[in-house]
Symmetry: C2
Subunit: 357 residues, 2 copies
Amino acid sequence: MAKKYNFSAGPAILTAEVIKEAAEAVSNWQESGLSILEVSHRGPAFVAVLEEAMALTKELLSLPENYKVLFLTGGASSQFYMTAMNLLDSNGKAGYVDTGAWSKKAIKEANHFGPVQVLATSEDKNYSYVPKNYDIPTDISYLHLTSNNTIFGTEMHQLPDTSLPLVCDMSSNIFSRPIDIERYGLIYAGAQKNMGPAGTTLVIVNEDLLGKVDRKIPTMLDYSTHIKKDSSFNTPPVFPIFVSMLTMRWVKKMGGVEAMAKHNQEKAAIVYDEIDRNSLFKGAAAKEDRSLMNVTFVATQEGLDKDFLAACEAAGCVGLKGHRSVGGFRASIYNAMTIEGVKTLASVMQAFEKAKG
Amino acid sequence: MAKKYNFSAGPAILTAEVIKEAAEAVSNWQESGLSILEVSHRGPAFVAVLEEAMALTKELLSLPENYKVLFLTGGASSQFYMTAMNLLDSNGKAGYVDTGAWSKKAIKEANHFGPVQVLATSEDKNYSYVPKNYDIPTDISYLHLTSNNTIFGTEMHQLPDTSLPLVCDMSSNIFSRPIDIERYGLIYAGAQKNMGPAGTTLVIVNEDLLGKVDRKIPTMLDYSTHIKKDSSFNTPPVFPIFVSMLTMRWVKKMGGVEAMAKHNQEKAAIVYDEIDRNSLFKGAAAKEDRSLMNVTFVATQEGLDKDFLAACEAAGCVGLKGHRSVGGFRASIYNAMTIEGVKTLASVMQAFEKAKG
C-alpha cells in the first residue's frame, strides 16, 4: 500500500513509532501476558505511566512547582464550563477574546457561571485574523484566549499586554512550541490534535487560583479533587493517557518543544510558500496570524476543489478538505507531520498548477 | 509465557479475539494505511463504528424506541451528578438505596441538586447484603439503585416493587444478563468492567424523562445535547468506543445476554461451590445476594492471604487481591472470563487446602 500522509484536523496524525508501541501494548503489554486495555489503573505499571506523563508535561513545558498537571476526559468542550465553574465567581467578571467557533462556545458556557465580557472579536472578517490592541479591564478574574484556531487557521503569535492570569485553550498547538508559563493561570487541551488520541484532556493549572469561588462544585468537576488524587480519583482513560505519554516521550527525544517549534516553522514555510507562489491557491488567514498547525487555503478559481482533493488522495495526502466555515482546503501539520509529508503536498500543488495551467 | 487469567475488578479482562482486532486496528485500520487512533471521528469509518455500537446496545438489551444510547466520558463518577442534574428538580425529591461505596458517592453528588432520601442501607453489616422490603415513597422522581457492588460482591437479583422509574448504576454487570428495560428510566455504566476498556461511559436514557428540571445545564452536561448529536457533539473517545463495539459484537456472537447469563451462572457456581466446600475459605457476602460478577471471599485462618495470592499468581491467576474495605480476595469473573479460568482458580484453591491441611 502507498504511504499515507494524514493531514486531518483531529483526531490527527501520530508518529509511526508511537503507533507501533501502542499496538504492541494492546497485544501484550511489557511482556506481561496482558493487554494494556485490561490492567488495573491502580497497578504499579499504569501508575508509572501516569507519573511519567505528568513528569514529561512538567519537563517539556518547564512548569513551576505550583502548576499541577491533570489528565481528565470530556475534551476542551468540558473545559469551557469547568474553567468558569472553578475560576469565575458569580460576583466576579471574566474577559474573553473571540477568535472563532471554539472561543464562542467557551464564552457561551462561561456565561452559566458569571458575567463574561467579550473584549474583542474577529467575527467581522470570518475569523481570518487575530484581534490585537484591545482594552483589557483590570477588574476581571482572568482573560480567556484560544491560542490556535483549528477551523480558521489562525494562531496567536503574541500574547496580549496584561498581567492578569490567562486561561488558554491550547488544544491544537500544545507542545508545538515553548510557552511563557508564568503568564498562564490555566491551560487546557484535548489530546487528539498534537498530543495523542481522542479520549483524554490535559489541564495545567496554577493551584494558587483555586478555591476562590463561592459555589458548591460536584466532586468530579472540582480541579482540586483531581489534583489531590493525581488524576485517579476515578478510573482515568488508561489507553489515551498511555499513547499521550508515548507521544511526549517522542517530543522529548526529538529535542523538546524548542526543536518542535523549529520543525513546525520549517514545515509551515514549505506549505505557505507554495500557496503564495501558486496561482491556483491563496491563503485564507491574514499573513501575520497564520497558524503553524492548520494551514487554511482556497482555490483562486471556481470548480477546482474536487479535482485537487482527488490529486492529493492519489499522492497519499488525506484529510485535506476544508471545514465548511472556510471552505477550500486545510492542511493540519501538527508535530507528527514530517517534512516529507509537506513536501509531497507542495509537489501535488505544483503538479496541479501545471495540469490546470 | 504461561497463560494469564485476569481476575481484576476493572479495568478488566477482554476476550482474546477483541484484543487481537483492537491491536490490528491500532496498527492499520481496515487496511486504510492509518491507525484508528488518527482518523477523524466525523469520517464514515468511525461513524459506522458508533452507529454499530448504538445498534448493538439496542439489540442486546431490547431497547424500545424512546430509549436513547449515549457514549460519553467521565465514568460512572460523572453520572453520579449528571443523573441528578438532569432528572432531579430542586423542588423534587429522589430516593436512593445505599448498597456500598459507589451508592454512597451517588447520594453525595445528587445532594448538590435536590433533596435525596436514603430509603435503605446495608452499611450496618459492611454492605455484605442487599436491603429488601423497604418503604418507597410515591412522591419521588426516581429511585436510584446500584445493580452490582464491585467492592462488596453483592448483586441485586430482584428489583424492588415499585412503578417509579429506576436510575441504575450497572457499571459492573451491564450485558451480563437480560434486563426488564421498561422498569428503568436511566442506566449508566463505565465501560471498563464488562463492556470495554477505560475511557467511555454508556448511558441509556428514556428521553421522555428529560427536559423537566428548572435549572440551566451546561451544554456538555445535558443529555439532550448528546442525543441530538448522536454522541458526537464534541470528539468522542474513539478507541474506547471501538473496543466496546467489538466486545458487544462478541456478546452477540456468543448468543446475546441470555447466553451470557447462563455462562456467568455456570462460572459463578464453580467458584462459590469451591468456596463453600473448602475449609480454608468463606464467602464475604450473604448467599442470596452473591454477585455473579465479583466473588468476594476471605480465608478462615489468619496469615494465609499472602501465600494464597502467590499460589494464584504461580498458576497465572492475577488480580485476586480483595479491596481494602473487605480484605481477603476478590475474583472478578465478568463476561470475558472463561470456564477454564474459573476452573484453574478452583483447582488452586483445592491444592492450597491440601498443602496447608
